[in-house]
């Protein structure tokens, strides 16, 4: 069971204000996690990654285990602590603006 923490605006969009828990079949990667998240909540399609290129939107970051995973290969396995639910996978709106 993977725990996902969404930014406040996306929590509002899916009308779920707590962590999201996901069962990701097979080898859990960023891609697989996001596929499952978007399957569960179709309204999130396009809000985290481009719907066509499936690339992360520029002002979105992925953090876990005190590491920035934003630039990792999206098909690489997620950290074991995320996969087993010890640590959440954070989807974060990047700090920007003045």
């Amino acid at each position: 069971m993977i725990r996902v923490v969404l930014p406040a605006h996306l929590k509002t969009l899916i009308q779920h204000h707590h962590e999201v828990t996901l069962d990701v079949a097979g080898r859990a990667s960023q891609s697989a996690l996001l596929d499952e998240l978007e399957r569960r909540y179709p309204v999130l399609r396009g809000t985290i990654r481009d719907p066509l290129t499936r690339r992360r939107r520029p002002f979105i970051r992925f953090f876990a285990c005190e590491e920035d995973l934003s630039h990792e290969d999206v098909d690489q396995p997620l950290p074991e602590a995320v996969v087993n639910g010890e640590e959440p996978f954070f989807i974060v709106g990047a700090m920007a603006g003045g």
């Binding site: 930014p7 406040a8 605006h9 396009g46 809000t47 939107r57 002002f59 709106g93 920007a96």
Partner: protein, 371 residues
């Protein structure tokens, strides 16, 4: 009793103001979608309870929201805006080719006869249509594909398709306007398009009367005479008597012919409203006086309307989608400012009052006249 519902899109959420037919007391609801940029909200002329809204964010992209109960509740619908085929390129600010990239929906135009059909004008400039209440969207790609698309350039606010008007006489006739490409018309429900910019002159482009490249800010018409178009261009207020085939200037005695909004009185086809802004580099009213100008002769002769509007130290802007009229017996006129006020006139512009203040910067104002 008849009433009015004002839909206000702002930089940080949407607000809905309602009043009965006297328009003396206003109920303000919101913010809806707090924290998101709400570029535009517009109700269906067929079913006023059906409202579409463009919710957008630099972080999270585009969401389209729909209400079926007059804005009480909302549900996200489709946000799949995919350009038809290979998107190609337009010109970037420096004149180099730049790939077409979807950024946001600027304007939603519900159909005149079907509540499930709605047009969307987007950045980078293109026109999309949904026939299923916003669930899915298809590009009307004849607009970008008619030939001049590779020469379009963005204006300072991005290359946006911001104006959509469906002719009430013939729904196959559609007008759109793009910054900074110009005005375009389709006579076959959006399949084929042609530029309608003859008579426009823009000093900010190399060939000042070029076929495309003009920064049109807004177009308006009166339903009783849809061949007469009024345009607020970057500079110049323009008029066409032949559905855009040719244009002539009607700026007349305006203190500045730069501005964004333009609209037409609900019952007087030759009564037009603009709100002059100082210049393209000074985006506030001339002399710090917030003045709507009204022409009762279809342009050229303009009178300032100031009663109830601040006449000193006013440095707000009024953006292109932020003026609208109602169609009660005595026409109401409304506009919103980047300072967060929405002003309304119950008497065709003779006097004004702020019906709400201190909102986030207003991006759009639409009005529904309710039976």
């Amino acid at each position: 009793m008849a009433g009015v519902r004002v839909l206000v899109g702002t930089r940080k959420g949407a607000f809905i103001l309602t009043a009965d037919g006297t328009r003396t007391s206003w109920d303000v609801k919101g913010p809806f979608f707090a924290g998101w940029e709400m570029y535009h909200l517009k109700g269906s002329p067929v079913d006023p309870q059906r409202i579409y809204a463009s919710q957008t964010s630099g972080w999270f992209g585009q969401v389209i929201q729909r209400s079926d109960d007059g804005g009480e509740t909302w549900a996200p619908v489709g946000n799949g805006f995919t350009y038809d085929g290979v998107p190609g390129t337009h010109q970037w600010y420096d004149g180099t080719p730049h790939p077409w990239e979807f950024a946001r929906v600027w304007h939603l135009e519900p159909s005149l006869d079907d509540p499930d059909t709605v047009l969307a004008g987007v950045e980078d400039a293109a026109l999309f249509r949904s026939s299923d209440g916003g669930a899915t969207w298809s590009e009307l790609s004849g607009l970008r594909g008619h030939g001049s698309g590779p020469f379009w350039q963005p204006g300072a606010g991005g290359m946006c398709l911001h104006t959509i008007i469906v002719s009430p006489r013939d729904p196959r006739r559609i007008f759109v306007a793009i910054s900074a490409a110009g005005a375009f018309r389709s006579d076959d429900a959006g399949v084929t398009w042609r530029p309608i910019n003859r008579g426009l002159r823009s000093q900010g482009i190399p060939d000042e009367d070029a076929e495309v490249g003009h920064c049109v800010h807004r177009i308006a018409l009166h339903p009783s005479n849809p061949d007469v178009l009024y345009m607020q261009k970057h500079w110049d207020v323009m008029r066409s008597n032949d559905a855009g085939d040719s244009w002539f200037e009607v700026s007349g005695n305006l203190p500045s012919d730069f501005g964004f909004v333009i609209d037409v009185h609900a019952h007087e086809p030759e009564t037009v409203y603009v709100l002059p802004i100082t210049s393209d580099s000074v985006h506030y009213p001339p002399e710090g006086k917030l003045r709507v100008y009204r022409s009762r002769s279809g342009g050229n002769d303009w009178e300032p309307l100031t009663k109830g509007l601040p006449q000193s130290h006013c440095y707000v802007d009024v953006l292109r989608d932020a003026m609208a009229v109602d169609s009660l017996d005595e026409c109401g006129v409304y506009f919103g400012t980047t300072g967060g006020q929405v002003y309304a006139s119950r008497d065709g512009g003779d006097s004004w009052e702020a019906i709400v203040r201190d909102l986030p910067a207003v991006l759009s104002v639409e009005v529904q006249t309710l039976a």
